[in-house]
């Protein structure tokens, strides 16, 4: 079995006409926590200064460090040598413009990992708000194509809901970034956040935070503790699988009929067998969870989307197209993961699909789920 040829394709005229929403772009706060100190009360900034909290505290442990040194591409540095994704103007000039991207959803992993596992509950509430205000002030005015997944403090759902109500009306806020913890998403623990998200017409956006499968309190992949970056990376999708199942089995979409969820960078080629298994089991044991009133396949179709990066690469690329045809192109939204190493670019992604399905994945599906005022 061979891997697909992944060379970057030249952009054709047809591609230039495609509309694109990139559902996963990572901004990096240069300087880490110190950059957001101006956006929090002095008592808290002095506390973080005194305990010497810094962006280094967000780094992965040694065994999960990227074997090539960093997940951020070295070639994404700007002309001054700044780390990729740390300047909104560079993100626009180096990614959004050349890729003809209409909207790019910003998703900050520094804030997410702090909120998921690295900070205390009180710290995470302060940090979520500080990071959010930092992006609203220092990034979003740079370009209207930039959209933002605000971060909520997962460890206190009431505070998370309050944060949505505080800044959820901002016209460039398009989603609620929910850093996952070891409470599955169907648990009613999350209801305050879902209620607020629905009130503001915002989808819940889930992405690996960096705490997953590493830190106690973060969500864990199945079976045990992985032993390398490679091993951890491959099994992160299990976290999404468990959470999709949980959302459906707990009746979340009956409780919140307007709720939409986007799983980002957690894969999708596992979805079809999961749907089959959920559907069969529901038909057999429906009465255990009578609030699941229709097939799980229908709930997932109506409420959940998955971003495409990192695309799996079967030796015959048409096999991926066949899988997407089987599961339905409605479920997928394009993402690049810029400026990370394992990116997909819109000009090369999913070329095996028919133009209609490809355009749905590159733009139309995300347009329906993100709040793009």
């Amino acid at each position: 079995m061979t891997m697909a040829d992944t060379k970057v394709a030249d952009k054709s005229d047809a591609d230039a006409a495609l509309k694109v929403i990139d559902c996963d772009v990572h901004p990096t706060v240069r300087g880490g926590l110190s950059a957001v100190y101006p956006y929090m009360p002095k008592a808290w900034s002095r506390r973080f200064e005194q305990k010497k909290a810094s962006v280094q505290s967000v780094a992965l442990t040694t065994k999960y460090q990227h074997p090539n040194g960093a997940v951020v591409r070295e070639d994404a540095r700007d002309e001054n040598g700044n780390v990729g994704g740390s300047d909104p103007r560079v993100v626009v000039s180096e990614h959004i413009k050349p890729c003809n991207i209409d909207f790019a959803l910003l998703n900050c992993l520094q804030a997410a990992s702090l909120c998921a596992a690295l900070a205390t509950t009180d710290e995470s509430i302060i940090l979520a708000s500080a990071f959010n205000d930092f992006f609203l002030e220092e990034w979003l005015p740079a370009d209207r194509r930039l959209r933002y997944a605000l971060t909520v403090a997962s460890l206190d759902p009431q505070a998370g809901a309050a944060e949505i109500r505080r800044i959820g009306r901002h016209p460039q806020v398009a989603a609620v970034g929910l850093p996952l913890i070891n409470v599955l998403m169907g648990n009613r623990y999350w209801w305050p956040i879902y209620e607020a998200a629905c009130d503001f017409g915002l989808p819940i956006y889930v992405h690996p935070s960096g705490a997953d499968s590493i830190y106690q309190g973060g969500p864990m992949a199945c079976g045990g503790i992985p032993d390398s970056y490679f091993e951890r990376y491959v099994t992160l999708c299990q976290i999404a699988e468990s959470n999709v199942n949980s959302l459906v089995c707990c009746g979340t979409f009956e409780k919140f009929p307007g709720l939409k969820v986007m799983f980002a960078e957690l894969g999708f080629t596992w979805l079809l067998p999961l749907l089959w298994r959920m559907d069969r089991t529901w038909r057999q044991l429906r009465h255990e969870t009578p609030w699941v009133k229709k097939s799980p396949i229908d709930y997932v179709h109506d409420h959940i989307r998955f971003t495409t990066q990192p695309l799996d690469e079967p030796g015959n690329p048409r096999h991926l197209g066949q899988l997407i045809e089987m599961m339905g192109a409605d479920h997928l939204c394009f993402s690049s993961d810029y400026p990370h190493w394992d990116n997909d670019m819109p000009s090369q992604a999913l070329q095996m699909l028919n133009p209609g399905d490809r355009q749905k994945i590159l733009y139309g599906n995300a347009e329906k789920i993100l709040r793009l005022d």
Binding site: R188, C250, R286, W291
Partner: protein
């Protein structure tokens, strides 16, 4: 399980499968009739139902399943209970069937039990095959 012979004085497809009192209320008794295993059950309202002892899903002896009720679609965290005595749950894969209609419960495209017409006449249970 008892074996039934064709009742020659009756129409060709009508079979006497036993005395009413031989069929307990709320519980299947399986009879052999024309080479088929057929479950007979009396209901507490006096009706009697006859069901082919073969699940339409994967061929299980469905009449050996649970006869009870079901928990119908409900709001999150709430639990109702209905159709007590009129739901047959297959012992293999748990599919639920409405004994009155034979239809799988709460499905847009339900599977159906193979049912036969059953009556009580003169103290005996008759089925039409």
């Amino acid at each position: 399980m008892s074996s039934i012979t064709k009742e020659k004085s009756q129409p060709a497809q009508r079979f006497d499968v036993g005395k009413v009192e031989d069929f307990p209320v709320g519980k299947f008794r399986i009879v052999q009739c024309e080479g088929r295993q057929i479950g007979i059950i009396r209901m507490d309202d006096g009706d009697v139902h006859a069901v082919l002892n073969r699940c339409p899903h994967k061929g299980a002896p469905v009449c050996k399943g649970i006869v009870g009720g079901t928990w119908p679609p409900s709001a999150v965290g709430e639990l109702g209970f209905e159709r007590d005595g009129y739901v047959l749950t297959c012992p293999w894969h748990g599919f639920e069937f409405d004994l009155s209609t034979g239809a799988e419960l709460f499905q847009e495209r339900p599977m159906r039990l193979r049912k036969y017409r059953a009556t009580i006449e003169g103290g005996s249970v008759f089925i039409l095959l």
